[in-house]
């Protein structure tokens, strides 16, 4: 029996020696939630991820197109294959989940924004900047921009679906119940207000070209104006509960005067102003000098010059001081090498069907203008 004990204890020792932790693993597959959001480069990439959720695969989830098809101004249009456009125009919805991508992508954007808001707060960027002030300004811009984008996506959802489930942190339960219309707008208002208060006062004219496309404090102020109008307009005209106050989650509300003050700040201090000639906002006013000849003769005749897509000193255009926040697209081609969802499909789907005439390219002829509207306008 002694022997037995002896050998047992040897075996026990062998086992005990092995008791260091062999189950610890290190994630070397790539970046993970634990190793991301640590550097300004990470934040750039993550922010692009938030904006990426603006795109939707299903065309009926593309906000501008869906809104135009659904409203009374435009018809379905298109060809015989485009039954779905006509269905949407007629508020017929034979397919399951016609607008699912709009919902899903908005929540993807919200989740990605939540991650930036939460993770950036703890990040230390001081080694990447010359001064603590610059590091703080960077961090404030990142958190504020993520707050703005969260509001942007909730506003997009609220416009289509009314009150929606509010998910405001990475680990929030995803099966949250639907919030009320008021709660949803109160959250949008709170996020925009905090975004305005958080983001630095960088003038539009100081934004470097490489940052074009990013939202900033001024965009948040302008959006707060839109949200205020949409909410009070809906409550007054649709719900029959007239109000001129926009509730703010966490308490309080914003009055017309409060919102106007934000807008006044934007007007006075952002550096934005209206384009000098309205027509210069459209690319058909573009005089293509680099082409060596004047491609669009009326542009020269009328003395027009395209201001460019956005930004004060774009590569193409004279400087667009009017556009504040522009969704960015890539070039499209028929091979869809970039994926067609990254192209401006509003142009593609609504351009003239089977006809290409400078400066308008050929498209699929959706969203034809309703004839009696034309008559009224005429």
């Amino acid at each position: 029996m002694k022997k037995l004990l002896f050998y047992t204890s040897i075996a026990a020792m062998l086992i005990a020696i092995s008791c260091q932790d062999y189950l610890d693993t290190e994630n070397l597959y790539g970046k993970s939630l634990d190793s991301f959001y640590k550097t300004p480069q990470d934040i750039e990439e993550a922010m692009a991820g938030v904006y990426n959720a603006i795109y939707t695969a299903n065309i009926h989830s593309e906000e501008q197109l869906a809104a135009n098809l659904l409203d009374d101004m435009m018809l379905g249009g298109g060809g015989p294959d485009d039954k779905s456009a006509k269905n949407v125009d007629n508020f017929q919805d034979p397919d399951e989940d016609t607008y699912r991508d709009l919902w899903v992508q908005s929540y993807n954007g919200i989740a990605r924004a939540n991650a930036i808001i939460e993770k950036t707060a703890d990040a230390d960027f001081s080694t990447y900047f010359d001064s603590p002030e610059e590091a703080k300004a960077y961090k404030d811009q990142a958190i504020g921009e993520a707050l703005f984008m969260r509001a942007f996506f909730y506003f997009r959802l609220a416009k289509f679906f009314g009150g929606v489930p509010l998910i405001l942190a990475i680990d929030d339960p995803k099966n949250a119940a639907r919030a009320t219309y008021d709660e949803t707008f109160a959250q949008i208002a709170a996020d925009l207000k905090l975004a305005i208060e958080t983001m630095p006062n960088t003038k539009f004219t100081d934004v470097p070209t490489s940052q074009y496309g990013h939202a900033n404090k001024w965009v948040a102020q302008a959006y707060l104006g839109r949200v205020f109008l949409f909410y009070t307009g809906y409550k007054t005209n649709m719900a029959g509960e007239g109000t001129s106050e926009l509730p703010v989650a966490g308490g309080g509300s914003l009055s017309k005067t409060d919102v106007a003050a934000y807008l006044q700040d934007c007007i006075s201090n952002s550096g934005h102003r209206l384009a000098t000639d309205f027509r210069n906002l459209w690319p058909y006013s573009y005089v293509n000098q680099s082409a060596g000849s004047i491609v669009l003769p009326w542009a020269e005749a009328e003395g027009l010059a395209w201001v460019g897509q956005d930004g004060h000193s774009p590569t193409f255009g004279t400087g667009n001081y009017e556009s504040m926040f522009v969704q960015r697209f890539s070039f499209g081609d028929w091979q869809w090498s970039n994926g067609n969802i990254y192209t401006n499909r509003l142009c593609l789907f609504t351009a003239i069907r089977d006809n290409s005439m400078v400066p308008f390219a050929q498209g699929w002829g959706w969203c034809t203008v309703k004839p009696d509207n034309l008559v009224k306008l005429g």
Binding site: L4, Y22, L23, D24, N52, N108, Q211, G213, P314, G339
Partner: protein, 891 residues
Amino acid sequence: MDGIAVGNIDYLNASDIESINVLKDAASAAIYGSRAANGVVLVTTVKGRKDTAAKISYDYFYGFQNIYKNLDPLNAQEYMYIMDEGRVNDGLAPNNWQAIIKNNPWLESNYPGAGTQLGEEIWTSMQNGWEGTNWIDEMTNEDAPVQNHAINITGGSEDIIYSMGASFYDQKGMIGGDITDAGYKRFTARLNTQMVLKKNANHAILTVGENFTYTNTENRAVATGNIYWNDLHNALVQNPFQFAYWQPSIDRNINEFGFTPTLDGLATGQTNPLAVMYYRHNYNYGKGNNIVGNVFAELEPMKDLRLRSSFGVDSWFGNGRSMNPTYHLGVLYQDDVDGAQQNQYFGNNWTWTTTLAYDRQFGDHKVGALIGYELLQNQINTEVGGSRNGLLFPGDPKYAYINNTKNPESISDINTWGADWAAGGGGLESFIARAQYDYKEKYLLSATFRADGSSNFAEDNRWGYFPSVAAGWVITNEDFYGSNNTLNFLKFRASWGQNGNQSIPNFIYSSQIAYVFPGYFFGDTKPVSGTTAYPATVTNPDVTWETSEQLNIGFDARMFQSKLGITFDWYQKTTKDWLVQAPILGTSGAGAPFVNGGDIENTGVELMLNWNDVAGDFKYGISLSGAYNQNEVTRIDNTDGIIQGPSHVLSQGTASVSRVEVGQPIGFFYGFETDGILQNQEEVNAYVRPNGTPYFSDQRPGDVRFVDQNQDGLIDEEDKVYLGDPNPDFEVGAQLYFEFKGVYANATLAGKYGMQVMQSYRSFSDNPAQNYTSDVFNRWHGEGTSTKMPRLGSVSNRNSQFISDIYMHDADYLRINNVTLGYNFGEMLAHIEAISNLKVYVAINNAYTFTDYDGMDPEVRFGHDASWASGIDLGLYPQARTVMFGISVDF
């Protein structure tokens, strides 16, 4: 396999296997591994025997494989008739087939004159009675050979036993075997030895040994899977007009192999399926290797106390290369860029197992105890590869290596990748303890306890604890029982136990950051996407072990001088905290995580009877088994209690067919119940909502009568119900064996009952020109012609787009899996010293299947993207019937 946990045993040749033992109850599986939740299959390779002379055996067989049952697509004339009927039903004029066939704009504009020529040749052939191409016949290879050589050597002296073997297996594919050289080749080599190094008079003191198997495989596959990755499906739905091959294709340099280009006047998407199969598979050359084995030492310092330690490896390595060819066969099937790709991979896991066991008899009491420790570490799992465009030897796969490509013109001509998936470490760690007690072989008790840790879970959830107990009572060993010639042995058994499952990817509890392209376009450089990243999945830090808990009660009996054996089992197996990648909510904001998604319960009984007897020179044995199983999902961890299966399965644009729901069997079929076909206008008029208005404004004779379950006047999601179950209720098996003076015959049968299959071969909505099989002749085409299959349409309509029971078929079957007839020369060879045994046989695998199911095979396990779904028949790789001739000789 010899104590090493491996995922499958495809790398073994049948001749290497000594025994296969299936451990079904939890208590006996418990000792064998931390991954035993779905049971354990113990595979033991052939070992030598002590004090036996060397035995050399050689086995060989050669066989022919043919598709057991083929489907019958429509020929050209039938196709035109059926397509026209669909148009006429929708109030359209019949097709002008001549115009369609002769209108090939892509071909005509790229190869002037060819489009018209092709159309005219087809039309003329059809005028002369040509019935079109049967693509399945074109694709299949008749009498595809399969052969196997295996040599085994075993033997042993007093202290050393050895066993070694080598084999070569070569199987040609039935589909594409003569077009893309599809097939499977495998070479295996194996060595097992064991030697006693130290011993005393009573027992061995130190024993060492090893078991190793090396396998080299070459697998050239064809696509089988969903409707977009399935060569046989492509052949089933391809229009019959197109020639398979067309000489002008070669003459006019359209295609060097003569594949006929697309008839794009008919449908641009209907690419020649032979070309798709060829270009997709022919230029992939891959070779894989496995080394699986262990070395062990066993120390027995005092009698009955054994300390055993083994170190095992499971490694895989190989390489692949492929050529990306150029082709131009239609507007939707062209590739201008060629290139070459190469990759190499290497991986290894090691397992170190140490056990200390003590077994001793104290009078009538026999006790045994074991403690053990097992550690599995992921050591390396690396793959590197790259590709580059622009072949220096275009079109010749012999030269398809990356070095034989041009200098890249742009960065997009190059792609490389490399990772070591095991660099971060991790693995499995287990502590095991077992105690056994046996009183006079009458009362048997055992208890096992395991603690298993897996690095696949977050730190706080890594450990799972799995107890099990088993008890047996051998009533025939009781003193009061005495001896009885009728009942020779009777043992009652009961066991209860738990086992775990941890097979999910590592770090799934957190989330990786996914880099996407294109992402977003900040800045002023419009076409170039900035680097864009976001969390790939929803985090689930709580994910932990899935536990399967099983209760077994049964008995084993032998009667009539042990000629009759009876085994009976009742079991209840509950899978708790099922690990599943559940579909996500629209609000999740990222991809689906693995969750402990629910509980599943299987309850059933199994009965096995066998009878073995000898009557003079006649020996025979019969073994029958029957199993009844009931599967029910008892909990789903979400608010709906439902996991919905993937959509677009049966055809583009259709809803999901499979679902998991509390109270139903796993993966049951879900959709609209139908109540026959509207036969005439009277029935159409009678198919109305409770308020008297018709269900559909356009309903007409020949349409499906969908059942409005809730009588709310709408046919919608609310009306979808349970349609059927892909899981069998009842399984039977039979083995018969007869031997008379050296002639022997055996047969194996298996059957399954009470299951259904969802079948669809066509994608109605996006490819209306797809062909039908001849069962379309059972369609409704006038009053009384069909009560299941609706009228045809020119395009898809709700009859085909709504998932309903019109797609569902009963799939009960009984199959004769194998029939073998052989002759054992045995004693005739007694005077030949060199040969100790010689057998020759002829065997038929999959000899006959009794079934009413009209598809290729009623055994359909395909479930599309969902791991839990099954029973979806889209025209899958068919079953072979193989006729084999074999010889087996021992020296």
